[in-house]
């Protein structure tokens, strides 16, 4: 791992206004949703739930918040997928069209 070259106060100084602006953008967008007609239907959209979960992660500690938020917005992985998709379950059968 390459440590961040800058100290935390330096990073904070450079990014404070940027973070402030991004939070405001999210806040204004959520306000716009609530102001619009049929706001309740959006609240039951699973993607709205993902956004709520993402916001909760922002309030947690640690340095894997970005990865955790990415995972919230990700489809479920099925470890047995190969057996279902690929007849051999492991290696593909040689394609007749590929020169051997």
């Amino acid at each position: 791992m390459i440590a961040a070259v800058q100290t935390a106060p330096e990073v904070f100084e450079q990014t404070f206004l940027l973070v402030r602006a991004k939070i405001l953008e999210v806040a204004a967008t959520l306000d716009r949703l609530d102001r619009a007609e049929a706001a309740e239907s959006v609240r039951s959209d699973p993607r709205f739930g993902q956004i709520r979960q993402g916001l909760e992660i922002l309030l947690s500690d640690g340095f894997h918040r970005a990865a955790q938020i990415q995972e919230i917005f990700s489809d479920q992985y099925d470890p047995t997928w190969m057996k279902k998709y690929l007849s051999t379950g492991e290696r593909p059968a040689l394609s007749p069209s590929v020169p051997h």
Partner: protein, 284 residues
């Protein structure tokens, strides 16, 4: 600083973009075969595309002093059509030995379907038979994590695959660890909104180190920025990272990966400048 853009779709860009990236310090590009925004109807459509990638684009890049490399395949989106995909795979050997071809790519998954997986494995099969490098496209957004795991499952189940000869592209915070842990090369794509920003890419470098990783612009027909790599360079500079570290990511690393291709020939920019000066002096 000289840099290499290891993943940029120049067929979708105008000649002015070659000129702009050259002025920003780009000395070489590698262009994977991809989806052109519409599904092609026949294998001949791909034959023309491969000719464009191997014959015309190197020439056009050369007008701006840029060295052009390419990768051949049928992309994951069109791979849903298994019959057409097999015809294209069968045609690849006609083009694979042309100068500038680095291997098979960008193969991968798009919607993580059965057909895409079948064609992915047939491409890997071809790469193993021809002893070629592989460049992999991972899906976007909600499909990325699942698709990256599926791709790694398929690669790891084939004992012939050497991870150091495979580049997994478009990694982000939740997939970079998966690729690096297994010994694959990886790349981050700087793409507005749907992929990585220069600052997030810099964060990933700080968290995961600068070995076996590179950055690219993807520069394609979608909303993208062909000079995104210089933005990343600037971000690392602003954070105080040394020039040698930055150069490793944007120049040395792509070269180290590409040099594994037996056909790879590269003229370092300093030599190019000397040669150009020579040509000028001879003309005078």
């Amino acid at each position: 600083m000289y840099y290499i853009d290891p993943h940029i779709h120049m067929v979708s860009r105008v000649t002015d973009d070659y000129e702009r990236i050259a002025r920003m310090g780009c000395v070489a590009v590698s262009e994977p075969a991809f989806w052109a925004g519409f599904d092609r109807g026949s294998v001949d459509g791909f034959r023309d595309y491969f000719r464009q990638l191997t014959e015309f684009e190197p020439k056009r890049a050369g007008w701006s002093g840029i060295q052009h490399y390419t990768w051949l395949c049928i992309n994951a989106k069109e791979a849903e059509n298994v019959e057409l995909s097999r015809e294209v795979i069968k045609m690849i050997p006609e083009f694979i030995s042309k100068p500038g071809v680095l291997g098979i790519g960008e193969i991968g998954l798009n919607k993580n379907t059965k057909n895409e997986s079948i064609i992915f494995q047939e491409h890997v099969q071809l790469a193993m038979q021809l002893d070629e490098l592989i460049l992999i496209h991972t899906p976007h957004l909600q499909d990325k994590l699942k698709g990256t795991r599926m791709i790694i499952d398929m690669l790891m189940s084939d004992r012939r695959v050497q991870p150091e000869r495979v580049l997994i592209d478009h990694v982000e915070e939740h997939t970079v660890g998966l690729a690096k842990e297994e010994g694959f090369w990886c790349a981050m794509t700087l793409y507005p909104i749907t992929k990585c920003t220069p600052s997030r890419a810099a964060d990933i470098i700080e968290a995961y180190g600068d070995d076996r990783i590179m950055v690219n612009s993807a520069g394609d027909w979608g909303p993208s920025n062909p000079i995104a790599v210089p933005d990343f360079i600037q971000e690392l500079r602003k954070r105080g990272h040394p020039e040698s570290k930055i150069k490793k990511i944007v120049y040395d690393n792509p070269l180290e990966f590409f040099r594994q291709c037996r056909r790879f020939e590269f003229t370092p920019p300093d030599t190019l400048a000397d040669n150009a000066a020579l040509v000028v002096s001879q003309k005078v």
